[in-house]
């Protein structure tokens, strides 16, 4: 009987503790593990779903312009080409509009459906605009709806204030797959790494691994 009472008391105590803890959230406190882990993840997520996706859009828009046949040496409203069809090796296009991707150079080196995109200039993540350089390779797949699917691989650097900066790169290609709606790339596979530096000293290394969609991921830091 005593043992049963003891077990009941212990269980009740544990339930009470659990209930109480559910009233508290890490976000209510400054400097908690939860907050900055989320912020670190969000940063890398922005690289994956904003910076890289901006380039997918730049690529697809270029292909659309290309399909219009307006690839002579003329300067279009959004792109400047070297006159070569975007599917032809040696084609070099440059984005001349839209602040976020202005200056992106698209070049085609081989006959397959692969392009290299490079850019060196300011890029804003959540309103914080800092010098960002990257070189990525995009390989087109069939896709669905309004977009193609893409294999993305490459690397880049970003220089921020207070001595901070980062290097990001893909560990093998990251696949962006058009979602059910056909309007965006909500499907994703692959891993993006990031190394954070402060005055040339490494302060963190993290990765963001997509397991099928941009909402199904794993973030790890302190590696």
């Amino acid at each position: 009987m005593k043992r049963i009472l003891f077990a009941i008391i212990i269980s009740a105590s544990l339930c009470a503790c659990k209930k109480e803890s559910s009233f508290y959230y890490d976000s209510e406190f400054t400097g908690t593990y939860s907050y900055n882990s989320t912020a670190g993840c969000n940063y890398l997520m922005a690289v994956a779903t904003e910076l890289l996706v901006d380039n997918l859009r730049a690529m697809e828009n270029a292909l659309e312009f290309n399909s219009f046949g307006s690839v002579s040496n003329s300067r279009t409203s959004a792109y400047h080409s070297n006159g070569k069809d975007l599917w032809t090796p040696g084609a070099e296009w440059e984005v001349t509009a839209v602040t976020a991707i202005k200056g992106v150079k698209i070049s085609k080196d081989s006959a397959d459906s692969t392009w290299t995109l490079t850019r060196s200039g300011d890029y804003g993540i959540n309103g914080n605009i800092y010098p960002t350089e990257y070189s990525i390779t995009l390989r087109m797949h069939k896709g669905a709806g309004y977009h193609y699917d893409w294999e993305v691989s490459g690397n880049g650097t970003r220089t921020e204030n207070k001595g901070y900066g980062c290097r990001f790169w893909t560990d093998g290609p990251v696949n962006y797959v058009v979602g059910v709606s056909g309007y965006n790339w909500s499907g994703a596979f692959g891993t993006i790494w990031m190394e954070v530096n402060c005055y040339d000293e490494t302060v963190d290394k993290a990765f963001l691994r997509f397991n099928g969609s941009t909402s199904d991921y794993r973030y790890m830091r302190g590696l």
Partner: protein, 197 residues
């Protein structure tokens, strides 16, 4: 609250207590002052934190347990005229804070700084009564902040300035002052006790 009540009673009682004092009409005055709020703008706001998605805001350590002493100062004045004086003010305050890792919340270090300022000052009295006066003034000089930030010793020197838009003095040879002070050393109400030689 207790301090405020005490201050009000003290200031209210002072004119009555000093009426019995002889009026020596001395030209030199020395006062000790205390200001409630440190204006930590002279050397930048070290505790500024913003919820932003840049690497510094994510990785910079969190600051907690920030403690400031009041600003203590000593001021000597010499009356050039009945309504105008020049002087020198020396001020000191101390600040300490602790750093915590932004991810693990572990204590990572602390910071302790002293600030010393030396400012030549002027004061103009535009209402002079037997035991009461209203005045304004200004002080400009240099400030030195030194201390330890983590394992690093720090030392920084910059201009220091204070404005006194309005202040009052109650008493004669022994007097109390209540000033509104603004600048990059102290900000807000300053209370002082002085003696006229």
């Amino acid at each position: 609250m207790k301090k405020t009540v005490f201050l009000i009673f003290f200031l209210a009682a002072l004119p009555f207590s000093v009426n019995a004092q002889p009026d020596r009409n001395g030209k030199v005055e020395v006062s000790a002052n205390i200001s409630g709020d440190v204006a930590d703008t002279m050397f930048g706001n070290y505790d500024f934190y913003y919820n932003s998605m840049d690497l510094a805001s994510i990785y910079e350590p969190r600051t907690r347990n920030v403690n400031y002493t009041p600003v203590f100062s000593v001021m000597g004045e010499y009356k050039l005229r009945k309504d105008f004086s020049v002087g020198l003010e020396a001020a000191w305050w101390h600040m300490s804070k602790e750093y915590y890792d932004s991810f693990t919340d572990d204590f990572t270090g602390s910071c302790s700084r002293h600030s010393v300022s030396l400012m030549p000052c002027v004061k103009y009295r535009y209402l002079i009564r037997r035991s009461f006066e209203l005045h304004s003034g200004a002080a400009v000089g240099a400030g030195l902040m030194f201390g330890k930030d983590g394992n690093d010793s720090t030392s920084e020197m910059q201009a220091a300035y204070q404005f006194l838009p309005i202040g009052m003095r109650i008493g004669r040879d022994i007097y109390a002052t209540l000033d509104y002070y603004m600048g990059n050393v102290a900000f807000g109400v300053r209370f002082g006790i002085g003696y006229r030689f």
